[in-house]
Amino acid sequence: MASSVINAGALVTLQELNSASPHFKQGASLRVTGKLQEYSFENAVALIVDGNATLKIDTQHLNINLRVGSIYQFIGELLIQPNNEVILKARVGRNVDGIDLNLYHQSLKLLREFISDQISNTP
């Protein structure tokens, strides 16, 4: 009894998410992580930051409490607007305060190497 098809949120860091990235395309399903820097109650748009990179998150479909200064992870689809503004329309989100971001970045690197290895060794 398989669930209806839904894309996995590809794991990307905010630093990687630029116009040269293969993930930087309309409708791409992504999972992003960052510290909440701003939140607008008017339009439910959050701004998250990781290092010197930022991303806007549309949180209107979420039912979570957002607190500036906390770290959040969102899964959703990337919308590139006509004025080139980029926003992630979040499907799910959660507070990940306590996450070890160094471990996250290192694990992500190992995970990508492993997947690449496995795919290239597929008979």
Partner: protein, 168 residues
């Protein structure tokens, strides 16, 4: 080491969805045409949830490498499959399943274990166990477990003649 019967193999979603059924045994699945698996464990974010009360809960676990479809049966009190078991036992099994169903909510991170089953040409997990994880680092530890096990264990198993026959 033999094939991993009745062991919950920790698999990343991209690996899990490439499992293929065996011709001779509907409960066993090949990994990369070699290893035989019957059970799996995943950790990830719940991204879909479809409840049919007193029948089943379908949901998907997104671990960042793919999505694993899961089904949790909730029909214990009406299914003929359980009619020969003692009613108090069946009630307890139904209560546990109902508790798992209430814990599976969109956005939570869960560790899900169960049997690998096939449905309409895809593989899925028929759920036997759910643990909601609250440590934000647990997914990374699961990735690292999966990588280590795939490299050191799942990819290095020697099959017994019996299992080689089952695969052929």
């Amino acid at each position: 080491m033999d094939a991993l019967h009745n062991t919950h193999a920790k698999l990343l979603a991209f690996d899990f969805v490439s499992l293929t059924p065996t011709a001779s045994d509907p409960t066993a699945f090949h990994r990369k045409g070699k290893l035989l698996l019957t059970r799996a464990e995943t950790v990830g974010v719940i991204t879909t949830r479809e409840l049919k009360p007193n029948k089943f809960l379908k949901f998907a676990v997104d671990d960042g490498t793919g999505c694993i479809p899961c089904v949790l049966w909730l029909n214990h009190l009406t299914s003929p499959y359980f009619s020969r078991r003692s009613p108090p036992d069946v009630r307890r099994i139904a209560d546990v399943a109902a508790r798992f169903a209430s814990q599976i909510q969109l956005g939570v991170v869960a560790r899900v274990r169960g049997r690998i089953t096939a449905y309409r040409g895809s593989v899925q997990i028929t759920v036997s166990d759910v643990i909601v994880e609250r440590d934000p680092n647990v997914e990374m530890l699961h990735w690292l477990d999966c990588i280590k096990l795939a490299r050191k264990c799942y990819g290095a198993l020697n099959l017994s003649p019996h299992d080689q026959n089952r695969l052929s």
